[in-house]
């Protein structure tokens, strides 16, 4: 038993729903009690989809348990086929149905439906949402993909985009354009927008682009083995990664692969002087492994940030993230417990968080700006505008998204100039947030400021003398937390019990960079 408050991933059948909902002409018959239908709203509300997910729930109740839930399943399966006339059906059980062991796969096989019926085995008490999506997609591919003659022109499949994914909709558009630009056709995008018939044609591509390893790595490996299709290892998020990706495609295809970079703005924006203030900003990165890997590289090599810590919630990718962390000289945080993530962030006091919707909430609580880089995300992270993450336009979008929560360079300059102005008080927060964003530590809960005051592990609490405390208040709010932390660390390292104004400036000189 494990106590859980908020979860990064749903159960594995939600992963299967992400695949089914992304596809067309596929139907999912899910053996599940009433209530499991809540999952529909993830798609219709959070992602604003205008269709119900193609899922039929058998909706068994307690009184059915003694009688025939198997019959209920077969009826639901037959009704679903007759009503929706799908090209293929996937069948499976949610956590409760798994316990009653009705074997949806076997039951549906006996029914002799005239379309392929693909059984899913998704162990609800061991695995989670991403596994569910990956496994579902693998089973669909295994069952439907046939060996096929390669297309005449060089082509690839794009594997991985699902419903509820972070910017998957726009990533497909951007990546398809990029591939076209370098001379590669897209044969099939899957699961998103693919029909079961499209899946049968996967084998015609020359290679696969594995866009999101979380949801498609198993399928990519299977296709490599069975259809002799190599797949790309670099996920083209960020300038460097996109260039590496293009190189990888060139190696696979033997094409020259020259991309048009004329619309790429991130390098110049990062170089322009307003961005100087970004230098060495300490960021904490957390999310799914793919987006964390991409974000870490962008943060350090393209934005000039300092990566203060990183981690991922999907344990399947822990090994890769651990070695990434070593490369960045930090410890990897591999956990799906948001309280642990909150603790890590509280201890590190980064200047910005790059995370999921959970980290955005943590950031709100701790008064630390946050930009969202990975699922799970909420309704505002499915924007109306085009906003991909991959490719060169993706890099532009990322620059804007990451800079937005911060006080901008010119604004920082003005803050220094006007900091004693009565209209320009700390609590105003960044002006582009309408002056309503709580930026002052006074609005943050005490949980935030308390540990910062007591030295974390020192033998005795370090006391701030009144004059030093007053001096600290004169420091602009957006660097005050860092100043407080640095000063305390400095005092602790010198075995000081008290912090005076001198200590404050000694520390400032010590940490100057």
């Amino acid at each position: 038993m494990k106590l859980t408050v908020w979860t990064y991933e749903g159960p594995p059948h939600v992963g299967a729903m992400r695949v089914a909902t992304a596809m067309k002409g596929l139907h999912y018959v899910l053996h599940a009690p009433q209530g499991d239908t809540y999952a529909d709203l993830l798609f219709t509300m959070i992602e604003r989809r205008n269709h119900r997910p193609p899922v039929t729930y058998t909706t068994f109740q307690a009184r059915d348990l003694g009688s025939d839930t198997a019959q209920l399943f077969q009826d639901a399966c037959r009704d679903a086929y007759e009503r929706f006339q799908p090209e293929a059906i996937i069948v499976g059980a949610s956590c409760t149905a798994e316990l009653i062991q009705d074997d949806p796969g076997g039951l549906s096989e006996l029914m002799g439906l005239p379309v392929p019926v693909i059984p899913l085995e998704l162990p609800s008490y061991q695995r989670k949402e991403n596994f569910g999506a990956d496994e579902t997609f693998l089973q669909i591919v295994r069952r439907l993909t046939k060996p096929a003659e390669r297309t005449e022109r060089v082509s690839c499949n794009i594997l991985g985009p699902t419903a509820l994914g972070f910017r998957h909709r726009d990533d497909i558009t951007e990546l398809t354009a990029l591939l076209y630009d370098i001379g590669v056709d897209v044969n099939v995008v899957a699961p998103m927008d693919a029909t079961p018939t499209d899946i049968t044609r996967l084998g015609a591509a020359h290679f696969n682009v594995l866009l999101y390893p979380e949801t498609a790595e198993s399928a990519a490996r299977w296709l490599q083995r069975e259809c002799d299709q190599p797949y790309t290892k670099t996920v083209p998020i960020g300038v460097g990664a996109t260039r590496d990706f293009i190189e990888e495609v060139a190696t696979i295809t033997g094409l020259p692969c020259r991309a048009d970079e004329s619309r790429l703005r991130l390098p110049w924006y990062a170089q322009s002087v307003d961005s100087t203030y970004l230098t060495g900003k300490r960021v904490f990165i957390f999310g799914d492994a793919t987006h964390v890997r991409a974000a870490a590289r962008i943060a350090r090599d393209e934005m000039g940030f300092e990566v203060a810590g990183l981690g991922c919630y999907n344990r399947e990718f822990a090994k890769g993230i651990r070695s990434l962390a070593r490369e960045f000289g930090v410890d990897a945080l591999i956990t799906d417990d948001y309280l642990e993530v909150e603790q890590a962030i509280e201890a590190l006091q980064p200047e910005m968080i790059l995370g999921t919707q959970m980290e955005r909430h943590i950031g709100k609580r701790l008064g630390i700006p946050c930009a969202v880089i990975s699922a799970p995300v909420h309704v505002q992270d499915f924007p109306a505008r085009y906003s991909p993450q991959v490719g060169f336009e993706g890099a532009n979008v990322i620059f804007d998204t990451w800079v937005h929560p911060l006080v901008m360079g010119l604004e920082e300059h003005l803050l220094h100039m006007f900091r004693d102005d009565f209209e320009f008080h700390d609590a105003a927060g960044p002006s582009h947030h309408g002056g309503h964003a709580p930026a002052n530590s006074e609005t943050a809960p005490p949980a935030h400021s308390e540990p910062a005051r007591a030295a974390p592990s020192g033998p005795a609490e370090i006391i701030w003398l009144a004059a030093a405390e007053r001096e600290l208040k004169k420091i602009p709010f957006f660097v005050r937390g860092k100043a407080r932390r640095n000063t305390e660390t400095f005092a602790q390292s010198r075995d000081l019990q008290e912090i005076s104004v001198d200590t404050l400036y000694e520390a400032k000189a010590h940490y100057a960079r």
């Binding site: 038993m1 009690p33 009433q34 209530g35 219709t44 307690a62 348990l65 943590i362 909420h378």
Partner: protein, 432 residues
Amino acid sequence: MTAPAPLSGGGCRTAPVLKERGQREVFCGLTGIIWLHRKMQDAFFLVVGSRTCAHLLQSAAGVMIFAEPRFATAILEEGDLAGLNDAHDELDREVARLLARRPDIRQLFLVGSCPSEVIKLDLSRAAERLTEAYAPKVRVLNYSGSGIETTFTQGEDACLASMVPVLPATDRRELMVVGALPDVVEDQMLGLLAEMGIENVRCLPARSITSDVAVGPNTVFALNQPFLGDTCGALERRGARHIPAPFPFGEAGTTAWLRAIADEFGVSDAAFAAATDAPRARAARAIAQASENLKGKSVFFFPDSQLEIPLARFLTRECGMTAIEVGSPFIHDAIVGPDLELMEAGPVISEGQDVDLQLDRARAARPDLTVCGLGLANPLEAEGLTTKWAIELVFTPVHFYEQAGDLAGLFSRPLRRKGLISGLSPRLEAAE
């Protein structure tokens, strides 16, 4: 003035009920935790379930409440199911940890889920054992919010019913009002009753465990929510008597509800009028204003919270709408009968659900307004129907006079909005 008179012929109460069974597009009873934990601020709700339960709780609220919520899920793992671990030991360990971390918790609810019910994990035994261990500081109760037994608001019913057996006994002649209301609305209600001279009103659930709610043969109780059938039965078993009434939605509903209580306590017409005339007039004015674009429009209710019948009564009697179908997960005649009697016969009254068949009926009827769950709202909007998502009716203060206008507004806003943006797209049909 008197409460509205029932229609001749029993209104909808004598109409045949269309009973359906099939796929249900509803939440399970765990969802009630979202508002119950806000109401009882010294209570913690520990769901013993699966990752799905935890995921439901964070998804159903629409947003996550990050001020360290007073609910959590103890997720059953492979070892718990395979009998490798003693689930009761595991539960004791998690509870010990939880109570150590949260010394402010005085009531702990162990909430059963589909998986815990299927593996027959006996949470009542666990609750007894834990009560012994933590008494008198913490009281531990259990109920089931599982989807195989409860639909959405039935979770609150199960929770309140679990509290009834442990209420102290009393012989006092007292009124108990049952059902969780937002504090501000509860205070309005208590104010109205006090003005009529009805004092010492007890509320279930109380805001904290220290309040002296008791029950006995001289207790009379009124329900302010229609989904409290089990709680009603549990109170009757303790000797209390139910005051049947229409539910306090809108001006007429609130008046009828208060009138039933006033009659029970022998409140004079003058005292009743003195307490209610002003807020009644205010409510009537607010409804008239907010329901202007509801008049003559048709409404179709998908089953969701069991509030459907009282709300359909409000919309048809007080806002000038016609009902096409009023679907409810369950219909307790003893509880919603008074509301059914106030509704003109005509609409289909349906109980249970086969969602695909019901969608067919809604598409054929093309109602002006469809009240449905979050899973259906956007898809129906995309088909050109105008919808009101039902969960808001449970999360928003809508009871009694001062909220009557807001309640009408919840229904009229989608229609008004559709009218405002009708020029945008040929696929969006104008409300008019």
